[in-house]
C-alpha cells in the first residue's frame, strides 16, 4: 500500500496547492460574478458527500447480510466522511446563497433534504460512538436509510420548485469553467480516497487493539 499511498499524498497536496490559482483564473459568471467561484469547492464536496453515503450504505448492507467486520469498518470510515463533506456543503452553500439569493437559507426541498441527509449520518456517527455493544446493526440500518435519501437530494432541484440550481448546470459549463470544475473534482476525489484509506486503516488498527486486549484477558 505504501507504494501508492505516498505518491498519492504528494499528488493531492500539489493539486490542492494549485487549486486556488486555477479557480482564480477561471472566468467570472455573468450574473453572479465573483461569488459563483464557491461552486468549484461546493459541488465537488456535495458529490463526495453522496458518494460517501453510498459507500457507507453498501458497506453497511454487506455487514448486515454477510456479517463482514471489514465492511463494517469501511462503513464507519465512509460515514465520518459524509459528515465532513456534508458540513463543507452546508457552510459553503449559505455563504454563496447570501449573495446569490439574498438569504442565508431557504427551507426548500433541496436544502432541507441535504440537511436531513447530513443529520442522518451525524446520528449514525453518534450511534457508533455512544451506542455501546450491538449498536453496529442499528447504525448499519440507519446508513441504508441515509443512502436511500441520496437520490431524493440529487433530483430535488429538478422536480420541485427550489432556488437551488439543477445538476444540469454542470454539462452546460463553458470551457474555462469546465476545466476548473473537473480539476477541483479530481483533487477532491483523490483527497477522499486518501482520507477513506487512512480512516479505514485507523479502524483496522483499533480492531487489532481490541483483539489483543481480549487475548491478554484469556
Amino acid at each position: 500500500m505504501s507504494r501508492v499511498f505516498v505518491p498519492l499524498v504528494f499528488l493531492v497536496m500539489a493539486l490542492f496547492a494549485a487549486a486556488p490559482f486555477v479557480v482564480a483564473n477561471a472566468p467570472y459568471e455573468q450574473t453572479m460574478g465573483l461569488v459563483q467561484k464557491v461552486f468549484y469547492y461546493h459541488v465537488p464536496s456535495a458529490m463526495l458527500m453522496f458518494i460517501s453515503a453510498f459507500v457507507c450504505g453498501i458497506a453497511s448492507a454487506v455487514y448486515l447480510f454477510r456479517r463482514s467486520p471489514a465492511a463494517d469498518r469501511l462503513a464507519v470510515a465512509a460515514g465520518e466522511l459524509v459528515v465532513l463533506f456534508g458540513l463543507i456543503v452546508l457552510v459553503t452553500g449559505p455563504l454563496w446563497a447570501r449573495k446569490a439569493w439574498g438569504v442565508w437559507w431557504e427551507w426548500d426541498a433541496k436544502l432541507t433534504s441535504a440537511l436531513l441527509l447530513w443529520m442522518i449520518f451525524l446520528a449514525y456517527m453518534l450511534v457508533r460512538r455512544f451506542g455501546g455493544p450491538g449498536s453496529e446493526k442499528l447504525a448499519a440500518a440507519m446508513a441504508l436509510f441515509g443512502m436511500a435519501n441520496v437520490p431524493f437530494v440529487y433530483v430535488a432541484s429538478m422536480y420541485w420548485r427550489t432556488l437551488h440550481p439543477a445538476p444540469t448546470v454542470v454539462p452546460t459549463l463553458k470551457p474555462g469553467m469546465r476545466s476548473t470544475f473537473w480539476f477541483c473534482v479530481l483533487a477532491f476525489m483523490l483527497l477522499y480516497l486518501l482520507l477513506l484509506t487512512i480512516r479505514k486503516r485507523l479502524e483496522d488498527r483499533q480492531a487489532v487493539v481490541e483483539q489483543l486486549y481480549l487475548a491478554l484477558e484469556e
Binding site: G33, V35, L84
Partner: protein
C-alpha cells in the same frame, strides 16, 4: 349670445391649456417595493469577496482540522498497539 359663447369657449380652453403647460412636472417618484439588484447603488450592494474568502477558508480549516485529528488518533492507536504487542510477547 351664441356668438359670445363661441368666442368665450375657445378662449377659456386656450387659457386652461396655457395654465397646464406652465405647471411644474411632478417630481420623479422614488421606487417603492422590490428594487432589482443591478439598480442598487454600489454602496448598498453586498460584497462577494468576503463571502468567497470565508467559504474557501472554511474548507481549508475543516480539512486541516480533520487531518490533524486523524493523525492524532492514529498515533494514539499505534502507541497502544505497540504496548499491547510487547505485553503479549512477554507472556
Amino acid at each position: 349670445m351664441k356668438r359670445t359663447l363661441l368666442t368665450l369657449v375657445p378662449l377659456l380652453m386656450a387659457a386652461a391649456a396655457a395654465l397646464m403647460a406652465q405647471q411644474p412636472a411632478p417630481p420623479a417618484q422614488t421606487p417603492e417595493g422590490f428594487v432589482p439588484v443591478s439598480s442598487l447603488p454600489q454602496v448598498d450592494q453586498l460584497p462577494a469577496a468576503p463571502l468567497l474568502i470565508a467559504a474557501y477558508a472554511f474548507v481549508w480549516v475543516a480539512l486541516m482540522v480533520y487531518i490533524w485529528l486523524l493523525w492524532r488518533r492514529m498515533t494514539r492507536v499505534e502507541r497502544e498497539l505497540a504496548d499491547l504487542q510487547r505485553r503479549v510477547q512477554k507472556r
